[in-house]
């Protein structure tokens, strides 16, 4: 299971990094979104992978930490997802404004090479 999880992170990172280095703004925004999936999964993985042990206290398990998944990375990732939405929105608007101002969707605002 861990192998698949690690490979998933790797593929998402690779795709994200590739897109991040592209010259078009849309490619960069897609790259950031893929990279944020990878990073969120990576942080979530810090709590290790457990099945069927959501950190919701129930009467049977009581409060034994070993029976629940680590809640701290989950709380961090939840925050990261929401903030990720906000930054995506901001970046999108900036790229649209830049496109309107410069007439191109190149990240530097000018086409050095077509």
């Amino acid at each position: 299971m861990e192998v698949v999880y690690a490979l998933a992170i790797g593929v998402l990172t690779g795709s994200g990094v590739w897109l991040l280095l592209r010259p078009r703004t849309f490619q960069v925004i897609m790259g950031l979104s893929l990279l944020s999936y990878a990073v969120n999964l990576f942080i979530f993985g810090m709590g290790r992978l457990t099945v069927g042990s959501a950190p919701i206290i129930d009467a049977i398990k009581q409060t034994d930490p070993s029976l629940y998944d680590d809640p701290v990375p989950q709380a961090l990732v939840l925050t990261a997802i929401v903030i990720g939405f906000a930054t995506t929105a901001l970046f999108l608007v900036v790229l649209l404004a830049s496109r309107g101002l410069t007439g191109t969707d190149h990240v530097d605002g000018e086409d050095s090479e077509p």
Partner: protein
């Protein structure tokens, strides 16, 4: 404590003056005068203690845990200097009240003035070297404000900038020097530093410290080769020049040299550095002063010269010379201030300071002329005036200098030459302005200035006379107190007297006086109507020009360096960032390696593997398609997001999965809305436009990036696998699980962490969210779409052509056309979505859910109305004001936090109530719910604001296009659709000009 008040009062007064209305010149003057007089009184009351040789200290704790205090310290010398600063301040305030024009914003002037006075007193009274440097830089800043007071004048701005650059740069050197000094001594406390002179002078770091501190002092005191800023600072209003260039700003440099004299003086290095700077300024300043045309210019160069005299005296390493230096600090302040005041009065009454235009003012302004003549005589060193006594002391010191023949003969010779020059420029200053035939073409008709304006000058001139005639009865006790505090036990016997009998210094004085008169007569013809300084101007030794040349070179080279070292290209920056990430991962790995994990690996579930096979293919495909097929790439990336979401479900993170799912939907809609404004991009066009070389370059760049991407992916895979296969360390997680129900009363640990344990973080996060939403809104208000994406898209045109477009009717019950049925469904969906959201919000504390999820659900429902009905239709019925939601959300969340103070407990502590209601039963209320409600409201507001602002842009495009272009889109008949999209855009494009 009253010691601290001396420094605080001026700053407080400055703050008060800043808030006065700009025409309140009398109020401001009374305020400033009152503050100055209070400071005089506060300072003077220390005199009895100073007489006993005591050192008064006043420590105000600032950050005791860091060992940082405000230390104020007053000894005899500091007392004398503080008296000088405050008394001069009071006199200048009186003078300035009458000098400044009613139309000048006078309260601003007094505000800066008092701030400068406070900074200067801070320098004088600091008991800590670092604190001294802070006040030192404050004097540079406030003097910048004062010099640039008439900021509409270019020369004032330029002069102020030059003064600030030179003196504040010197201040930085001083800071470095003081840091070294503090390292040598082991303390920055002034008393500790003053007590370890032997240690400092013997230390190997003595020379660097000396050079840096000397740079600070010499720049401040306008000593050669940093003298050039002072004449340009004359663009300031004259009261500023009176204060800054007679008693305070430039004196700060020599104050520092005297202050550190017991520590740094007594070595050859001191003699050569300080002495030669002083001697050069002494002679050069006096020489330049002869040839100035501006009255204030003469005084400015004379100031450089007299400060050179003080510096030279300090550099001579003799205790008597030090006493002479302190004496001359006081003397120079009195006569130079009175002369600056006279120059200001002449300027005020005649409208010009040009020596070649002024003449014979004695008739119109007899009182001013008398005062100026006595002041200038003191400057020239005429007997029975205070300038004479300190000049005699200087001549005596030059004779008794030991050393080789050059210094033994050269120094007295230079002193006499200086004497000749100063007599010459003083004569010229007086004779040119006040004597001779009456001037005819003055801008104003001259008459005597108001009495109160003459008073400060008169008092100063009286002081020159009294000190010059009976020095032993007037200045000597104060001078002794000051000298004793610097010299301590080494204090030599001395006495101030007017008559020493016929001696070598007296002969030198007479020689200088006779030579000065001769020189003035010889130069008389040459000086008419010329401002050229012989020798200096011929060799282009203009400090200002050199300064500006150096500044420009610095600017150019800084720009060059920036261009060489950095780039504005985003791709290169991102590349470097990724390489840095590699390096930061590789460095620890290369040291420790990556030992194998110790945990057993779970068996692979085929369903999970299959899901990620699809997810991975989607991610790679999204990467490949993002350039030419944006919609496809967006959908593929969404599929990868879904796989991520499912992974959260799989590995016991229901809250994450829920949030990821709704965020995924909202993000997708968001980017879809943005796609419309991006330029079309077609592979065939791109390929044709490129040359062979460009294509090869692009290919090699892509290969490099592909390599990087593969390495990054592989690295993250290995790293993740390594982490996942070893035991987690002991963290803080058990605390949350054990206390979630116990302390916070919630079973859902994630939600409890977000709204209770780490509520403050969440408060910060939603604030950021609100700010981002408002930023997006603000950016989009000014949004200017590219002209070619203004009209309808080809898809819209095609659709219109097939169905026959009718303008949308915002008041129709349902949108007409193909969207009618979906519109019914989404309208029904709205209340259902609201209910689901409330359900998730309320159960969030114990089950998966919470404010974030609930907020995004409502957002999705709202945005669906827009998607299906169109912006116009949706807004005709639902009036959502997302800004209010954001404000209300923040208020709720913050209110929930503040309500804890009622208990009273810490901010954001949860309060709970249990009540039993008749029908509903037991009710559990908590401020945590209010907080989560705030989160919910804010998320709805922020997300809707962002989406609606973006959706609105399509309406803007139409509105803009409409007036100039009468519905061209409807003129395209079906079947006539242009074949290539490029021409399609050209057709619907509005006039480019608007």
């Amino acid at each position: 404590m009253s010691l601290t008040w001396i420094v605080i009062l001026p700053f407080a007064g400055s703050l008060c003056a800043a808030f006065l209305p700009s025409h309140a010149r009398n109020t401001a003057a009374w305020l400033a005068g009152g503050v100055a007089l209070a400071c005089v009184a506060l300072t003077f009351q220390f005199y009895p203690q100073m007489m006993g040789g005591a050192v008064v200290r006043d420590v105000v704790q600032w950050a005791p845990s860091l060992g940082l205090d405000f230390t104020f310290r007053m000894d005899g010398f500091a007392w004398l200097f503080a008296m000088l600063v405050t008394v001069m301040g009071a006199l200048v305030i009186l003078y300035a009240r009458y000098y400044m024009a009613p139309q000048d914003p006078v309260p601003r002037f007094f505000s800066f003035f008092l701030a400068f006075m406070g900074a200067m007193l801070g320098v004088v009274l600091s008991g800590n070297l670092i604190q001294l440097v802070v006040f030192w830089e404050l004097t540079s800043l406030t003097s910048f404000m004062l010099i640039a007071y008439w900021y509409h004048r270019a020369d004032a701005r330029r002069g102020a900038r030059m003064a600030l650059t030179v003196t504040a740069g010197g201040g930085l050197c001083l800071l470095a020097g003081v840091l070294i000094l503090g390292r040598i001594v082991g303390s920055y406390d002034l008393d500790a530093v003053l007590a370890s002179g032997e240690l400092v002078r013997a230390h190997s770091w003595y020379l660097p410290a000396l050079i840096l501190i000397a740079l600070g002092a010499l720049t401040k005191s306008a000593q050669f080769p940093f003298h050039f800023w002072l004449p340009h600072a004359m663009a300031a209003p004259t009261p500023v020049s009176v204060y800054l260039h007679s008693a305070t700003m430039v004196k700060a440099g020599v104050f520092l040299l005297v202050r550190l004299w017991p520590v740094l003086a007594g070595t050859d290095a001191w003699f050569w550095i300080i002495g030669s700077a002083g001697l050069s300024s002494l002679v050069l300043g006096a020489y330049m002063a002869i040839f100035q045309r501006d009255m204030k210019g003469v005084l400015a160069y004379s100031t450089i010269s007299h400060l050179g005299l003080i510096t030279l005296l300090l550099g001579l390493n003799s205790a008597l010379a030090l006493i002479a230096a302190i004496f001359h600090i006081v003397n120079h302040a009195t006569f130079k201030a009175s002369l600056f005041m006279a120059a200001g009065m002449v300027d005020h009454e005649t409208g010009t300071r040009d020596l070649s235009r002024l003449s014979g003012l004695y008739r119109a302004m007899p009182l001013t002329a008398t005062l100026a003549t006595v002041g200038a005589a003191a400057m020239a060193g005429v007997p029975l005036l205070n300038g004479f006594i300190s000049k005699e002391m200087f001549f005596t010191e030059t004779i008794f200098i030991s050393g080789n023949l050059i210094t033994r003969l050269g120094l007295p010779a230079m002193a006499v030459i200086w004497g000749i020059f100063s007599v010459a420029y003083s004569l010229r200053f007086i004779l040119q302005v006040f004597f001779g035939p009456s001037a005819r073409d003055l801008p104003r008709n001259p008459h005597e200035p108001p009495r109160w304006m003459l008073l400060p000058s008169a008092l100063l001139v009286a002081a020159c006379l009294v000190v010059g005639m009976v020095p032993a009865k007037t200045i000597e006790p104060y001078l002794d107190v000051a000298s004793l505090s610097v010299l301590g036990a080494d204090m030599p016997l001395h006495s101030l007297a007017v008559w020493h009998g016929v001696s070598l210094p007296l002969i030198m004085s007479l020689l200088a006086m006779a030579g000065g008169v001769l020189l003035y007569r010889a130069l008389g013809k040459y000086q008419q109507g010329t401002a050229v300084v012989p020798l200096v101007d011929r060799f282009h030794l203009d400090g200002k020009r050199i300064f500006e040349f150096l500044l420009e070179k610095l600017d150019v080279s800084a720009r060059g360096l920036t261009q060489w070292l950095s780039t504005e290209r985003l791709q290169v920056q991102l590349l470097l960032l990724i390489c840095a990430a590699f390096a930061s991962a590789l460095i620890p790995l290369s040291h420790g390696g990556l030992p194998e994990g110790d945990m057993s690996v779970a068996a692979i579930d085929p369903a999970f593997a299959m899901m990620w096979l699809v997810g991975a293919v989607c991610a790679i495909a999204a990467a490949a398609q993002a350039k030419y097929h944006r919609l496809a790439a967006l959908s593929l990336s969404g599929a990868a997001g879904l796989a991520t979401c499912m992974t959260f479900v799989w590995f016991s993170a229901p809250d994450l999965a829920l949030t990821q799912l709704v965020v995924e939907v909202v993000t997708l809609v968001l980017i879809l809305l943005g796609l419309r404004w991006l330029p079309p991009r077609y592979k065939s066009i791109d390929d044709d436009a490129r040359s062979l070389g460009a294509r090869i370059r692009a290919r090699s760049r892509r290969l490099r990036d592909l390599g990087l991407a593969i390495v990054a992916g592989a690295g993250m895979t290995i790293l993740s696998f390594a982490v996942l296969t070893r035991q987690a360390g002991e963290g803080i997680s058990p605390f949350f699980i054990e206390n979630s129900l116990l302390l916070a009363g919630g079973a859902n640990v994630i939600n409890v962490i977000l709204v209770d344990f780490r509520g403050f973080d969440t408060l910060g996060e939603i604030t950021v969210l609100g700010i981002v939403a408002l930023t997006v809104f603000a950016l989009l208000r000014r949004f200017r779409p590219a002209p070619e994406s203004m009209g309808l898209t080809p898809q819209q045109q095609e659709q219109d052509a097939q169905t026959g477009r009718s303008p949308p009717d915002p008041h129709a019950l349902l949108p007409v056309g193909p969207m009618m049925l979906p519109a019914v469904i989404v309208q029904l969906l709205l209340p259902v979505a609201g209910m689901v959201a409330v359900f998730f919000l309320l159960r969030g504390h114990n089950e998966p859910g919470g404010g974030f999820v609930a907020g995004l659900i409502v957002t999705t429902a709202v945005i669906l109305q827009y998607l299906v009905g169109g912006t116009a239709w949706a807004e005709s019925r639902t009036r959502i004001h997302p800004q209010y939601w954001i404000a209300l959300g923040l208020l709720c969340a913050a209110g929930a936090g503040v309500s804890a103070w009622l208990a009273p407990r810490q901010f954001l502590s949860a309060l709970t109530w249990h009540t039993t209601l008749p029908v509903i039963g037991e009710l559990h209320l908590s401020t945590v719910l209010l907080f989560d409600l705030g989160v919910f409201l804010l998320v709805v507001g922020a997300a809707v604001l962002i989406l609606v602002a973006l959706a609105h842009q399509s309406r803007r495009g139409h509105r803009k296009a409409a007036p100039t272009h009468v519905e061209p889109k409807y003129e395209v008949a079906p079947g006539e659709m242009p074949s290539t999209p490029a021409t399609a855009y050209a057709l619907v494009q509005p006039n480019k000009g608007d």
